[in-house]
Amino acid sequence: MRQLLLATLALSAGAASAHAQSLRPFSTYRQWHGETRLLARLEYAAGSLRVTAARPAELYRMDALYDEGRFDPVSDFDASTTAVALGVRAEGGGGLRVDSKGQPRQTAAVTFSPRTDLSLAVTLGAADADLELGGLRLTDLDLQAGASRATVRFAEPNAARCRMASLRAGAAELTVLGLGNSRCERIAFEGGVGRVTLDFGGTWTSDSRVSVKMALGEMTLRLPRAVGVRITPDRILSSFDPAGLVRQGSSYISPGYDRAARHLDIALTTAMGNVEVVWEEP
């Protein structure tokens, strides 16, 4: 106990001093001038990232603390296409160097206007990301997660119809919560190695088609009872536990699938790994 206390004390003191060494604060934003559409490209190489809805008066904002010696902040708005590039990228555009414990930890908070249709592309390196996209007007989502741990949430229903949500994860731990609130017509996930949780909870207002491709890893599908679910697995060496699903040909459907007002069709392709189905009670 005493050793634990001492070690915590020493580590916290050391971490605090490391934090203070070279982190530089950077802020960028743009006022909202009635833009109806924004193409946002968010590139975040390393550190901790949080994305939420912005204040109505701002089109976007990023407040970052970045490691001046290794990274450069990105903030570039193109008025002709209403496109913005934000984030923190490795200095010189070179490859990403993995953080060590002695290096200061970067942070960034990015917000987007809830009044503008948003097409969002996010590229994560070695990042710890929390993306709260509920309440935005998301029309497209393209998420690429490298060696990162990311959580994408839709705590509130998407204020616009989303055409496509594309999620790609390398060696990542990815959790997507409230996909029902995303209002995306198509959802595509491609995973390499890692642990993935796809939660289809939320308020479903339309049918949705989901494509899930997982190479190696552990996947959890959290399904709502209120929606008719069909899972069509295509697996090689992976295990799939269709708990609560009824087999119909090459697919598995939830009881009452035909009578359900909304349908969720999942095409599941897995190579090696484990797929688990968990039901969410209403």
Partner: protein, 431 residues
């Protein structure tokens, strides 16, 4: 205790005791570090409050006199503000341009204006072109038809103001109070661009401004100490008088004790921490003990310094009384005020003449030395008298009765020497 436990204890001790280096970012310091800064900060307080060349952590240095930066000659420094999307490149250009070899700043901003010091655009004013403000705040009430860059200063957008282009702050922030920004805002709240204060080619801040600035700093420190001193007299007069007497009657011992005390401060602290680390209860108590220790040192130093002021004021007042000068209220309040006034004198001299080359530095050095000497003596007196609790320690060579004010006007207790009769001849020695 096993070797492993000792190792962990030593690591924890080092992590706590050793000062942090290169603290640059916005962060919260542990309480102990802050308190240590307070202990060591008396003359730093005076210096920082009044020294114009010390840039603060955000990169905002003291403001120079507002003036235009004249354009450079052909081939001279040139910074284009047309595209602010690469702030790193702008900062790199400015880094070169803002370090003139002859300390006279000249800079060309194509399609724009460069200013040194605070700058504002009036409400009914419309300024075309880009604007660069160095070491100053840009107050925008009217319209700026271009990009805006500040170095070591904020941008304040007042209601109704307009900046049609982008805004970039290096070592400052944008305070939008209701203005309209056509472009993008980028803010670096810190910058290393302004290591030293700049001076435009047309002139620079005058000695008068420097005197006022330093004078204000000294006055601020003086008033703070006066408030603390009067509070100490009000609530701890007896202790203050005992420490003051100790300084008066055992100055040498007080100074020696203070010097030793200063030398032993850190080792004592280290031993205290090690002692506490060896027990579970001690680890829990460690943060509180650290805070209390630092507070005690701070109170000891400050109280001792005020006690020195009290002693000086008392000595001066008694001498004047002895000369027959009628003084309104010869009490501890007066002593402290008079003493602090005397202690502030060298700093006042520095404030007035610190701008004089060489002599100014000498005066400053003398002021620091005097302050340290007296502060050390005060600290030592506080130690010797146990912060005024040990009343009989003053190293008095005279009985306590002799220290009352009565001897100044009452019949001396050791008798009155007989007056010589006019015209009487002094008998020769030996008869």
């Amino acid at each position: 205790m096993s070797a492993r436990r000792r190792l962990v204890a030593v690591i924890a001790l080092l992590a706590i005791v050793f000062p942090r280096t290169a603290i640059a970012g916005p962060r919260l310091d542990p309480t102990g570090t802050r308190s240590l800064k307070l202990v060591h900060g008396f003359w730093t307080l005076v210096a920082e409050a009044s020294e114009p060349s010390v840039a603060d952590s955000t990169g905002q240095a003291a403001r120079p006199v507002p003036q235009a930066i004249p354009p450079a000659e052909a081939g001279g420094p040139r910074v284009s503000l047309d595209d602010l999307s690469q702030p790193g490149a702008i900062e790199s250009q400015l880094r070169t341009a803002l370090r003139p070899e002859d300390d006279r700043l000249r800079l060309t901003v194509p399609n724009g204006t460069a200013r040194l010091g605070d700058f504002s655009i009036a409400a009914n004013e419309s300024m075309p072109g880009h604007l660069l403000v160095v070491q100053g705040t840009a107050d925008i009430f009217g319209k700026l038809l271009g990009n805006l860059v500040t170095v070591g200063g904020d941008v304040v957008l007042h209601p109704g103001s307009v900046v049609s282009g982008d805004i970039l702050t290096l070592g400052g922030e944008v305070r939008d109070q209701g203005g309209e920004i056509g472009g993008e805002v980028r803010s670096f709240r810190s910058t290393s661009l302004l290591g030293t204060p700049l001076q435009a080619a047309s002139g620079g801040p005058g000695a008068v401004a420097l005197v006022f600035r330093r004078g204000a700093g000294v006055a601020g420190a003086f008033l703070t100490l006066c408030a603390l001193g009067l509070g100490l007299v009000l609530f701890g007069r007896q202790h203050l008088e005992v420490v003051s007497d100790t300084v008066s009657h055992s100055f040498g011992r007080a100074f020696t004790s203070g010097l030793l005390g200063q030398i032993l401060l850190l080792p004592t602290f280290g031993m205290l921490v090690v002692g506490l680390v060896l027990s579970v209860v001690g680890i829990v108590l460690l943060p509180f003990v650290v805070v209390v220790y630092v507070l005690l040192v701070f109170v000891g130093g400050l109280g001792g310094y005020l006690a020195v002021a009290h002693a000086m004021g008392e000595t001066y007042t008694r001498r004047r009384l002895a000369l027959g000068v009628m003084l309104g209220s010869p009490n501890s309040y007066r002593y402290v005020l008079v003493g602090l006034g005397a202690l502030a004198t060298p700093w006042l001299a520095w404030a007035l003449f610190g701008w004089v080359p060489v002599a100014g530095e000498l005066i400053r050095g003398a002021a620091i030395l005097v302050t340290w000497l007296l502060g050390t003596a005060g600290f030592g007196a506080a130690l010797l008298s146990r912060a005024g609790l040990r009343e009989n320690f003053a190293g008095r060579l005279l009985p306590p009765e002799a220290l009352t004010d009565e001897y100044l006007w009452a019949t001396p207790q050791f008798g009155v020497s007989a007056a010589k009769r006019p015209g009487a001849r002094t008998p020769p020695r030996g008869l």
